[in-house]
């Protein structure tokens, strides 16, 4: 997992765009895109995980705990769902 993270980080060194699950504890980023089954995607967007919001990783893993606007959520996605975030230092 850590190795994967490194590779992903290096390859995206310029844009700093990462899949959400690679965020480490306490790191935060801006959601760029939510991709996957349209019905699940709209569900995620309704509950608050939509492009433009800042997410903070509280506990990585599956399920993970995220924080959006002080509100915590736990998420476990299926394989087809991908959330991309832009790291904000």
């Amino acid at each position: 997992m850590r190795f994967l993270r490194k590779v992903a980080r290096m390859s995206s060194a310029i844009s700093q765009t990462l899949p959400l699950e690679l965020l480490a504890t306490g790191e935060q980023g801006t959601v760029i895109e939510v991709d996957g089954d349209p019905n699940l995607v709209i569900r995620l967007e309704e509950i608050g995980l939509h492009s433009g919001v800042v997410v903070r990783m509280i506990q990585p893993g599956s399920p993970c705990i995220l924080e959006i606007n002080h509100q915590r959520y736990s998420f476990r996605f299926d394989e087809s769902t991908q959330v991309f975030v832009d790291l904000t230092p």
Binding site: P38, V41, I42, H50, Q71, Y73, R76
Partner: protein
């Protein structure tokens, strides 16, 4: 809580809608005085609830609804909300106005559903609840400017402290007078054109006059419930039209469903510009620290198990003495009533049927109150959602998600609200599996059976200085036994009848808070009164039935004569009896003060010798008294023989003998068998039934006190005791696994829309219970002889 119900046509109907866990039910209860269940996790309310209030001469009918993130419903609880809002529920009727409740500390997301509600064009009031939380976080919102931009009333509010309630009331009344609003237009022109075309198509083929917002929702909700509901008249044609419309929209750059979130969040962003300021700095909160431990992979699970064990340990420590006290009370009431009435059917009905039956179950009231106190505390502090998070890992192993955990956890109180709570599960197959295993969770009606068996047949051993007792461990084990059995059952169901992928898991974790005493006490009171009510109705009725079946058709005259003689003898020997009970209690005190010696005999031989001497002295005195009381003992002996024969001759006794072969492999005699059969409508009935049977068919003497001692002295015809640890285990396992609750089966039928599933649950659980009890009886018996021999 007497509500005036004004005449229907004068009252305006107002729906309370908003995201889950924003305080809708709290506000509803505060406004109407009608209690709606409140808890600090999403999905507490799953069914609509009606209440009334009157303000400034206008009466309003308020509808509390399940929380929803959007008006495109995906689960049954959300469907309820949307149906009511759209006026599609006949028992509520059309809605005059809407109160949107939002969490002010997370306003942007909360406004999503508000923007959908505004599209309906109904007069709307926006309540910014949890204002205190927003202020604590340093969030500043300008309600006046927001109201100006939205052209609706915006009211900050703290529902749990009942602040600003009059403003909310006034806002609702004023909104009711307003005409329909023109909704803000977010969607491009092409979208509206498609909607209008589709409307014409519906008029052509479906021959219905559907409002345009329904058509728009239909266009937006791909695969939603509306698709099946609205296209019923001509599914083939209408669905192709719908699909074609969506495709045209996609090519025009307006791809549903994705477009909706984009447009609405864009609108919200614009709306909130300059209305709300959020501090950049994120303050560290208690929730941070607590979550670090409570959601930890290892510590979190440990904390979960420890909490559960603590609950049972404290119930057992606090409630067992209370229960003894209640039992003494029960015996005294029985004796007192008995002395007032002459021996005969009436006295027997009241003493043996009502007091021994219903009283036997009422002695468990302290335990029930404590159990619900703990449940309410856990529900209102915010821990439930964390427990669901922790359990998601385990639940995925059987193909379910953490979402199923909340209903299952509720089922530990009672399976009925638990099954209702499965409405929050989106996936139908997962919901079915959860419904079918929910009755295996140990509900509070099983607890009296465990308490009775554990208290009567398991030794009072404790460890760690009295902090851990065998009784509490047994209660803990029995309570979670059903849940453990549910694991393979769920796995099997998920592999066969309800084959589907493990669903994704999305859940909001509310911030921790101190449980509100009002909410907690209300819940305890609610359940305690339900328990007493059940004892006074259902259990009373069954007790009377059981009593009649075990009293008739035999001739009780001989028995009554003996009873009269016993009464006379008791009056005659009253001083001896008094003395005897004093000696006995002194003896018990002596034994209790002296803990079981664990040190080597040499160290502590002196105190033990002193104790032995005192005991011998007391025993000698007791023996002396007993010889004096010999005539009384003989009378009791005769009474027991007569009663035993009468009971065996009664309808119940004949029936019991007939079924005895079926229950004998489980180690039960016919009385247990009858008790278990009688408790199929409701499981607590076993306690009442055994109470009546033993009170009538009496192995009683002058010291017998309550059901526990009756059970301990019950014997087979050949004199062996009926009850032993294996028998107690077999009874407990049977009750843990059996579907002995008519109301649960009824709810399963209603929630699955089919009798078949209720029948299925009944059959599989009863089979499981029988086999489980057989294994428990034989395995415990084998273990005990094994450990006895070694």
């Amino acid at each position: 809580m007497v509500e005036k119900v004004p005449s229907q046509h004068l009252a305006r109907t107002v729906a309370v809608i908003g995201n889950p866990n924003t305080g809708k039910s709290t506000l509803f209860s505060a406004l109407t005085g009608v209690h709606s269940r409140i808890g600090n996790y999403p999905g507490v309310t799953v069914e609509k609830k009606l209440g009334w209030f009157e303000f400034e001469g206008q009466s309003v009918r308020l509808v509390d609804l399940p929380g929803t993130y959007s008006l495109s419903p995906r689960s049954i609880d959300e469907m309820v909300s949307v149906d009511v809002l759209l006026g599609r529920q006949p028992d509520v009727g059309p809605i005059d106005a809407v109160v949107c409740i939002t969490d002010a500390s997370n306003l942007e997301r909360n406004l999503y559903v508000v923007s959908q509600v505004l599209d309906l064009g109904l007069p709307t009031v926006l309540v910014l609840n949890m204002w205190d939380v927003a202020v604590d976080r340093g969030i500043q919102i300008d309600p006046v400017e927001l109201a100006r931009r939205l052209e609706i009333a915006v009211i900050p509010c703290e529902a749990h402290r009942r602040r600003q309630l009059d403003e909310v009331r006034r806002g609702i009344i004023q909104a009711c007078q307003l005409p329909q609003r023109t909704p803000p237009d977010l969607f491009p022109q092409t979208f509206h054109e498609e909607a209008r075309q589709l409307q014409t198509a519906f008029q052509q083929f479906g021959n219905q006059n559907l409002p345009i917002y329904l058509i728009e929702r239909l266009l937006l909700d791909v695969g939603g419930q509306l698709e099946t509901a609205l296209t019923k008249p001509n599914p083939a044609e209408l669905l192709t039209r719908l699909k074609a419309a969506r495709e045209r929209l996609a090519t025009a750059g307006c791809r549903v469903p994705g477009i909706e979130a984009k447009l609405r969040y864009g609108w919200i962003k614009q709306l909130m510009q300059g209305v709300m300021t959020v501090p950049d700095k994120r303050p560290a909160t208690v929730t941070d620290t607590l979550d670090r431990w409570l959601t930890h992979k290892f510590w979190g699970l440990l904390a979960f198990c420890l909490t559960m064990f603590l609950v049972f340990q404290s119930i057992s420590t606090v409630a067992e003495p209370l229960m003894k006290f209640f039992e003494v009370g029960q015996k005294q009431v029985g004796g007192w009533v008995g002395s007032l009435l002459a021996p005969g059917p009436l006295r027997s009905l009241i003493v043996d049927g009502v007091i021994a039956g219903v009283g036997g179950i009422l002695v468990f009231l302290p335990q029930i109150c404590l159990l619900f106190l703990f449940i309410a505390l856990l529900e209102d502090c915010g821990y439930m959602a964390r427990a669901a998070f922790l359990m998601d890992k385990l639940m995925t192993k059987v193909g379910l998600s953490g979402k199923s955990f909340v209903p299952l956890m509720s089922s530990f109180a009672c399976a009925i609200p638990g099954i209702m709570a499965t409405r929050t599960i989106e996936n139908r197959r997962d919901r079915m599996v959860t419904i079918l295993i929910a009755p295996l969770m140990s509900c509070s009606a099983r607890a009296p059976v465990y308490w009775l068996m554990v208290a009567a047949f398991f030794p009072t051993v404790s460890w760690a200085g009295g902090w851990v007792t065998l009784h509490a461990i047994m209660m803990f084990v029995m309570t979670f036994f059903g849940a453990v059995v549910a694991i393979p059952i769920a796995w099997l169901l998920k592999k066969t009848l309800f084959k589907s992928e493990t669903p994704p898991f999305v859940m909001e974790l509310p911030a921790y808070k101190w449980p509100s005493p009002g909410i907690v006490l209300h819940r305890v009171f609610d359940r305690a009164s339900a328990f007493v009510l059940r004892a006074g109705t259902l259990i009373l009725a069954t007790s009377i039935l059981i009593w009649s079946a075990s009293y008739f058709p035999s001739d009780h005259r001989a028995e009554q004569q003996v009873l009269v003689q016993i009464q006379q003898a008791e009056d005659q020997f009253s001083s001896q009896l008094e003395q005897k009970s004093q000696l006995r209690s002194r003896r018990e005190l002596l034994l209790e003060d002296q803990p079981v010696p664990v040190q080597s005999a040499a160290e502590s031989s002196a105190p033990i010798e002193a104790l032995a001497a005192q005991l011998a002295e007391l025993d000698a005195q007791l023996a002396e008294l007993d010889t004096q009381l010999q005539p009384l003992h003989e009378l009791f002996e005769t009474r027991n023989q007569i009663s035993e024969r009468l009971l065996a001759d009664s309808y119940l006794g004949r029936f019991g003998k007939w079924i005895e072969p079926v229950v004998k492999p489980l180690g039960w005699d016919w009385r247990i068998g009858v008790g278990v059969l009688a408790s199929f409508p409701a499981r607590e009935v076993i306690v009442a039934t055994l109470g009546t049977i033993y009170s009538l068919g009496g192995d009683v003497d002058e010291n017998s006190q309550g059901l526990q001692s009756a059970l301990k002295s019950a014997t087979w015809p050949d004199g062996r005791p009926v009850y032993s640890i294996p028998v107690a285990m077999s009874i407990m396992v049977f009750f843990a696994l059996c579907a002995q609750c008519a109301s649960t089966l009824m709810v399963i039928r209603r929630e699955t829309n089919h009798w078949g599933w209720a029948l299925f649950t009944f059959v599989y659980m009863t089979l499981l219970a029988y086999i489980g009890a057989w294994i428990a009886f034989n395995a415990t018996g084998w273990l005990m002889t094994f450990s006895g021999n070694s």
